[in-house]
Symmetry: C2
């Protein structure tokens, strides 16, 4: 193939290897600066103390409505969570709509309403916005972009940087995995599932604040959205040069998600979540943090799912329930496009 | 028509009356808060001094490349200018792409490159971003959202609020009108123009900073993008309850734009600009500010184009070159969709 004819593929937008390459080879090539180079979910902006965090996300989920939420709620949670895992308190968001001509006003109202409700819940203020309308057939109903600003407390500035991680450190998650991706799948017309899978879509800033306020040992936090838990852990293994070991028996997975994944040939470790956070802390603090998380209604099913290890550096290994060991690679291709 | 069946029309995204209604009746209904209620181009966020400004815009221009620029350059200029007219110094921007599967990598690279070049020119830093890819046919090649943060100096906080405007105040613009809209039109395949119309797409923050640094009498600034000069002036007349009088003979318009407008039945006053700013100041300062503007290369053709009046309150009137008077109403419908 002529290199000039290289095309954008679905997998360029999936959060995995191809998107990483696109960012490295194209965006960073032109945009590179010390702040962007950090490649954290939200940019930490040097200002007078306290610093501010700034992030953005576009949402193209299909369908717009799914069990447990819609694109509006999702657009708030996604940006709020990106700020929260950076150690910031989300404060302000922008909302920008690209709408297909002919889109039903009442559907837009439902979406705007749930956007506003979720913003209230998360205690963020929508302070600016934009609307574009394109001709029929030129976009798929509705896309939403949100950008967000959060205030950063000095002591929390490092949680997105994965510094000081050591073998023995524990990996926690605040509940079941794969719910969002499977809920969106189940809402697609082509799949006629009668499942009860509901998206986990939720703003995690309050839970995360509770954890940060009661522990100073958090070494890393990230929300496993596109690409799932497997992708975040692979990035972490790559960044630290250490190995990661996950216990299959410790992974919380809802029965409906397990059933759908088996039927469709998916692995829940790769499925998007929209209300989950992965936390790395030192071994002494694991149970203390688990308790804090379990007290929050978004953390009832929290679990310690694995640990950092000096074995197999750079690799994520799953210890299966039957005693086997399987390498969990980074995502390639995009099994589930337009999940967020 | 059943009110539940009301549909989004192209004119809901045109910057004119229908969009205003959508914002008033839907977005403000749910989002309302003291900051958003200001409805300025960028949100002024209360923080420790100095405050920060925060804005967002999505870009869906068709075609992606046009004489004088492309969607990437436009995405920087649009957000930089929204911050600058709010009296802020643009500092940080986010960039979010929604890309159609199959989009040519080399075209994306051209766009990313010019985005980066314009950011450098404007001295803003791209600090965060996002990429989504959708299936072929689900968006029209490429959409870009940018959000921006600027630092606000205390003394410039009021320029977007149109306070203290009085009859006799002068209205200035930094050059010719209608260039961007007509340049994009000329690039559309269906129009086979051999014109030399070039978009005015430019970052105005340096010009605006020069003006603000050398004069404390600026009462209002706004960039006349979608809906053109006519729409901004109508908003201003409505907001102040005063009349506005524009001199047709004083309006700078390029010959190519005049020719295209005559041929197509457009009025340059309604055509989008992407490198223009309207400034209101007191009558004593008009010439001083004009001189400052003319010294900047983006202000060579600056002109005093009209004044605030106590006649015809709330209305914008054009004094034609032949001595007639014509009411310039707000834009309804969208004669030129997807111009930015």
């Amino acid at each position: 193939m002529n290199p000039g004819e290289e095309k954008i593929l679905l997998s360029h937008g999936n959060g995995g290897r191809m998107m990483h390459r696109l960012i490295e080879n194209l965006f960073l090539k032109y945009f590179e600066n010390t702040i962007l180079n950090e490649q954290t979910d939200a940019a930490i902006l040097p200002t007078d103390s306290p610093g501010i965090a700034f992030t953005t996300d576009s949402f193209v989920v299909d369908p717009l409505f799914f069990p447990g939420g819609n694109i509006g709620k999702l657009a708030v949670c996604g940006t709020v969570n990106d700020l929260a895992v950076s150690g910031a308190d989300p404060r302000y968001i922008s909302v920008s709509f690209i709408i297909e001509e002919g889109f039903l006003m009442k559907e837009l109202e439902l979406i705007v309403k749930s956007l506003s409700e979720e913003a209230r819940k998360a205690q963020v203020i929508i302070v600016t916005g934009d609307t574009k309308v394109v001709n029929q057939g030129k976009c798929d109903k509705l896309f939403i972009n949100t950008a967000g600003i959060g205030s950063v407390r000095k002591e929390n500035r490092l949680v997105s940087k994965a510094q000081n991680i050591q073998p023995g450190d524990l990996i926690l998650i605040n509940g079941t995995i794969g719910d969002h991706g499977m809920a969106v799948m189940s809402a697609r017309e082509s799949f006629n599932f009668k499942t009860r899978v509901v998206s986990d879509c939720a703003s995690l800033n309050h839970l995360i604040r509770e954890v940060l306020d009661q522990s100073s040992t958090i070494k890393f936090m990230r929300d496993p959205t596109r690409g799932g838990v497997a992708t975040v852990l692979n990035e972490l293994a790559g960044k630290t040069g250490l190995g990661i070991e996950i216990e299959e028996s410790a992974l919380p997975v809802n029965r409906g998600v397990t059933a759908m994944c088996e039927l469709l040939g998916f692995d829940p470790l790769y499925i998007a979540n929209e209300g989950k956070v992965l936390i790395v802390t030192n071994p002494m603090e694991g149970n203390h943090i688990l308790e804090i998380m379990k007290k929050n209604k978004l953390g009832k099913q929290s679990a310690i799912i694995g640990r950092i290890t000096s074995d197999h550096p750079g690799k994520v290994v799953l210890k299966t329930e039957t005693g086997g060991r399987r390498i969990i690679d980074s995502l390639t291709g995009d099994p589930l496009p337009r999940i967020c």
